[in-house]
């Protein structure tokens, strides 16, 4: 059975792009020039495990992983802007909700959100950032 990582990534990235008020998104392996003083978010898709969900032949697989959205805002203006962005991401990917996505072949995937939590902020001059980690799983 082929893996579905591409569809999982697409589901999560499409959902993020649709969140109202989210600024430019820096996707993995796509050149991105950040502009000083302009907020943006950066994504990292980290698959963690792909395990048979049951014993026996041809089992369904359970995929686990983390989708990280790092919210960047200008340094020196307080944490408010990055915090607000992080809140928007947290609300959009609330734990126990599902993200549905239909690919170009017409197959629909429902990615479940296991948890969504933020980390403490940090400085990456000239930006201040707040990472939000979204744990996901899907059976396929």
């Amino acid at each position: 059975m082929a893996s579905i990582y591409r569809d999982i990534r697409a589901a999560l990235e499409t959902k993020l792009a649709a969140v109202s008020g989210i600024p430019a998104i820096s996707h993995e392996n796509v050149s991105f020039d950040r502009t000083n003083g302009t907020s943006y978010v950066e994504t990292f898709f980290v698959p963690q495990s792909r395990r048979p969900a049951v014993r026996g032949l041809n089992p369904q697989q359970r995929y686990n992983g983390v989708f990280t959205v790092v919210c960047y805002a200008a340094e020196g203006n307080g944490p408010g802007t990055a915090d607000e962005l992080a809140d928007k991401v947290l609300e959009a990917f609330e734990a126990t909700t599902d993200v549905s996505y239909t690919n170009t072949q017409g197959e629909t995937f429902v990615v479940s959100i296991d948890y969504a939590e933020r980390e403490g902020g940090g400085l990456d001059t000239p930006f201040y950032y707040v990472p939000v980690n979204i744990g996901f799983y899907i059976y396929n």
Binding site: S31, R51, P131
Partner: protein, 143 residues
């Protein structure tokens, strides 16, 4: 005196293997969380420093990339993504089968339980002195 042989039923063996796998997954998850903080806390100019992180179960060897003659002002997201991928691959390998040893060289090391995040870039100590990366990671994840 003969030592009695203990027979383990296949069902129990399978259960134990499952528990083992669950524990490995939990450790991998926690270490991946730390890895994410490690790359986000790492400054990026040539990408040599962020790509010199390794995850190991011993202090020997590890990646060491020099910034000499490398173009500066690299894409921060791309370099951090590369660094994170290397660490996630290291974590899977190390937790499941262990990591090779090697000579202990200068650099910085952060202990996380029975494992280590190591950076052997030639300029690692200088970067750490300026940016206190280890402190940032400990502040986020504890000792």
């Amino acid at each position: 005196m003969a030592v009695p042989k203990l027979k383990v039923s296949p069902a129990l063996k399978a259960k134990l293997a499952e528990i083992d796998e669950m524990l490995e997954d939990a450790v991998e998850r926690k270490m991946t969380d730390v890895a994410r903080t490690v790359v986000l806390a790492s400054p990026v100019d040539t990408g040599a420093f962020v790509n010199s992180w390794s995850f190991k179960d011993n202090l020997g060897g590890g990646r060491s990339k020099s910034s000499d003659n490398k173009p500066r002002g690299r894409d921060k997201g791309a370099e951090r993504g590369k660094g994170l991928n290397s660490l996630v691959n290291d974590i899977k390998k190390t937790v499941e089968v262990g990591s090779p040893g090697g000579s202990v060289r200068e650099g910085i090391a952060l202990q996380a339980g029975n494992y280590y995040f190591i950076n052997r870039a030639p300029h690692a100590i200088e970067v750490e002195r300026k940016k206190q990366i280890v402190d940032k990671i400990i502040r986020q994840h504890g000792r």
